[in-house]
Symmetry: D2
Subunit: 344 residues, 4 copies
């Protein structure tokens, strides 16, 4: 079928490609000329504006997939599409919008009988090859109508073994997409997915940090090990309880750069991790691990927190402690004094 | 080759079976008669005592694999083997011993020139079929001598894709086992593996808890979703960033019992999680996520903590607050008052 | 001066009393007749409705102090006052409103030139005697106009030693109240105050829990201590680094009930703790301790979390582990198996 | 009475002074000549060696107070005293030793009938003036014998209000010291005291960090406040629930340096915080807040953790994300992208 795709960045471009490979036809648009020219070469119909996209969509109801950074730009695009489209048409927000924004937008567009579908899309740069895992919210008729699109983007059954006992669930889940519920449910499930992702990543990260520092000179000599991190990551991929795709990626990174010297350690976060904590708080669900994972990223982007200065100020106040200064090299410098004191 | 196996529980029994399938011969012993009779039927030589095991091992150097719960029983068995074996012989501790115990035992046995190998063994009940992932510490000659044993227990290359760029690491890692370093290094790496496991499990657990409670009556009506957890777990297995073996298991459990009503929520912990935190502290490595994962398990085994009573006592003290009483049903009862107050 | 007080619960009633003791005159109202009759006996003018309160306020600009639970009831009351009052009049929200609600309400009332003051009020049941610590937001002229009210409610300098070096700050701070900034700033500072309160309480609570369980049978005999908690709390009040008012309250509670058997351990939370975390997240400030303190309360109100069941389900999946069942008594039951395994 | 004091640093020197002010006579020793000469001028008998100290102690049983950094130096000193002293004599370890070391040492010295007393001493640089809060472990007869010493060091009742209802506890607690239990109990209680201290400090620190960053340009303009931290700390000292001695110190520090620019934010930890977590783990007591407080300090001493690099490596792996680089100034730089994305 025919679909418009707005936003041709890392995700939108590849989504168009995967759709075209499945014989769907894409009308594409991006504010930058380059990616739309590139996709035109690959078979897409490139449009010069949102209006052009809508005009170029021939069969009705029209469907437009918006694949832009969450926030203002997505908001404005959806709003403008609301003015350009007609009753029955469908807007898909395939980005990482906040699910409460979906609920609001869906209500707004419903006034004009335009159908809004929120689709959380996982897969990153690998999606074009592996397929995208999609979590979809919105009206059933719209989700059903777009089924050929979702089916083309999804990984399909592949050679992943079936879950034992699975028989009466949503068959689409086994092909890599689900209709999670009403408007907002798709992005909500994707949001929690990303929250979990933060927690998983942090668990691996802390573990490798403990392995890495087992060589520390603050430890007794016969308790120091110079561990081979790439080999350890590799062996864990094979038969261990903690094997996963994230571990596969870690093994690949460590193989290339065993001490990860090419990374500064400055880590961004991207909205979903924050919203997951807010959702946990609204539901009164304890989320210690997901929160800590988020806070580690906040911390990673600062030289020092103000909190740490407050600690030093108190320590000076009650104990006359003068703290050491900055570590010059980026290598960990565990407290020698503490270790020595502990008699170890 | 021939090997003694001491301890025929869930792990030791299956290890013997996997070894025999690979044409190794096992002399087995357990304090319980039943499992050793069972293994005798399956082709093992069953011994009636540790002494009998040692006597039955014909080729030298002898090798004995100890597969017992960490702690006193392993300690005593290794000690007794130290008296029964001869210089050059090898003791493998395949259980989950604390790595500092390994270091101590290895030194002790080295006085008699008996070689001690610590082998962290991951794979659980699935190991017999999938193979065991092994992290090995100890003297190189002993580890090399036992290579046929490790190779038989390991999963082998299978159809797991190679890590891109991997060429000059330990080739054994790709078959599912590594020689991690000197005595203790094997169990140390396995310990951190289990610490990571706790963190990963907790990340998934918190995420599913947030999904589960999205139906809470404390939320505004249009922000409530009754989500299908088995379908969500299923779809995440396919193309998503958080796919893993632990997620596969979760999907299977949810498929069978979508609300997990057959589980009380009382969660054991087993030593390695604790030791991982102690290692982090010794190295001055922040381990927020791994610690929280452990504490959740501590908390799960108590009706209420004393800490919580202290909180209530203070609240009564400064605010005259009388707390509610216990929730009668095991379902979460998020604070209605708080939600109402928040004007939501 | 004359002031209306709406809401005569624990806080509003005592605030009226403290104001009258300082020779201010109060026009009081509550939906319940009893507290307003009681205050009438103590010298207040009791009104039968919001309208009556406004009518009874003679001098202009009128001032009305709203002391109600945050959320709907405060919202509606402020809205109704907005209709009853005239340009120049002042509404004080002395409750625990969310600061973003203040910002919105202040803007709304400003359209009618009614001035809105948000006042975070700390002191609890002790405020009538010790005085209330107040953090105030809103237009300077309104805050200045109400200075006699704030001065009467505040503790005043008392015998608390001056902070060394303090000379050019806001003199009101030393008497127990501050004008923190524009609308919302008062409740924001009070919110963070409560967030800190959660963290402090949790720190003491964990500490006492560790002391309490030092008697555990899972510990080696010569490392068990049966500690006297009331004596410990008492001694810490005297010359130690951790002396505080919260510790005073804890000492009092432990003196009365050394094992706190009269408390169930079910702990409410009240909005500010949640909002503090949301503020931290918006600012990208790591708030591990404040978050954990909140989550402990969430957890305390549940028999078991769904998360814990997910953990058990995974453990059954990979290891065949059957978890124990519920502890029947509310006393902590640390994992015997784990302790034994750890060889301790 | 007469007592030897070994170690004349910040703590040992002032302890000698406070004892002499109470008419006790001190025989003092330090490896550095300067502090012992200084104390000699102030009335102490300065000894040139441990042997001299023991020789100079006339009345029996002799008592020697060891006030040295925990670890090797204390260990060796106690050992040497064990050789120099006679049955009935008393060694006091007034430092911050690990309580399991106390248990071991006490057993060792008991073989020679030398009595060992472990005394956790709180008060820091303020102790000489405010008195020291002491938590004491060891044999009753020795603790009773030293009562005049403890009484002189303790703050005494002073003007701290009595805890309501207190009547039958240890009367010494109200004067600022307790006999907490057998050997090790004193340092155990002091250790938990310091663990709590870490948690309290961190709670304040996070709160002030949230206040400090409320001015962030990533927030909507009408939700930004430029808060006056010294005034806020000051007002919280007066009538608020979170008033404490640590807050007094924070107020003093902020008064002098409102943005704490004189502090780098590099924060040491000193053994007790670590041991408290280990104790919690041994007892299976959840200690989320105390752990996080410790980890914050670990983190503060590193440019970046290896964990953070692992996170970045994964993010590059699955999403092609290139992280930003280091913030050049020490001021927090919350993720603009995230904030913008969140549409706030």
């Amino acid at each position: 079928m025919q679909i418009g795709v707005i936003g041709l960045g890392r995700m939108g471009g590849n989504i168009s490609r995967r759709l075209m490979k499945a014989e769907h036809s894409c009308v594409v648009f991006d504010v930058n000329v380059k990616p739309r020219e590139q996709l035109a070469k690959e078979g897409a119909a490139a449009a010069g504006s949102l209006e052009d996209v809508v005009r170029a969509l021939e069969s009705k109801p029209r469907a437009v997939w918006v694949m832009l950074p969450a926030g203002r730009i997505t908001e404005e695009t959806v709003e403008r599409l609301g003015k350009l489209l007609e009753p029955g048409d469908i807007v898909v927000d395939g980005g990482n919008s906040f699910y409460k924004d979906d609920i609001r937008r869906a209500k707004k567009l419903a006034e004009k009988r335009i159908r809004y579908v929120d689709c959380g899309t996982s897969g990153g740069v690998w999606g074009i090859e592996r397929g995208y895992c999609m979590m979809i919210g919105g009206p059933k008729d719209a989700v059903d109508h777009l089924d050929p699109i979702f089916a083309a983007l999804a990984p399909g059954r592949g050679d992943i073994p079936r879950t034992p006992g699975r028989s009466n669930g949503d068959a689409r889940a086994e092909r890599g997409y689900i209709h999670a519920g009403p408007s907002g449910a798709g992005h909500f499930v994707k949001m929690v997915h990303n929250g979990i992702e933060y927690g998983l990543m942090q668990a691996y990260a802390e573990g490798f940090d403990i392995l890495r520092n087992k060589d520390s000179k603050d430890l007794p000599e016969d308790e120091r090990f110079a561990l081979n991190l790439p080999d350890i990551a590799e062996v864990w991929r094979r038969g261990s309880v903690i094997s996963s795709w994230l571990l596969d990626l870690t093994a690949a990174a460590l193989t290339k750069d065993p001490l990860l010297k090419s990374f500064s350690g400055y880590v961004q976060d991207s909205g979903e991790g924050r919203w997951t904590i807010e959702a946990a708080i609204e539901e009164a669900v304890p989320a210690d691990v997901l929160s800590s994972a988020l806070y580690t990223r906040f911390r990673s982007r600062q030289g020092h927190t103000f909190a740490e200065k407050v600690l030093s100020a108190m320590r000076l106040g009650f104990g006359g402690h003068i703290e050491g200064s900055e570590p010059i090299d980026p290598e960990p410098a565990p407290a020698r004094a503490a270790a020595e004191k502990a008699g170890r």
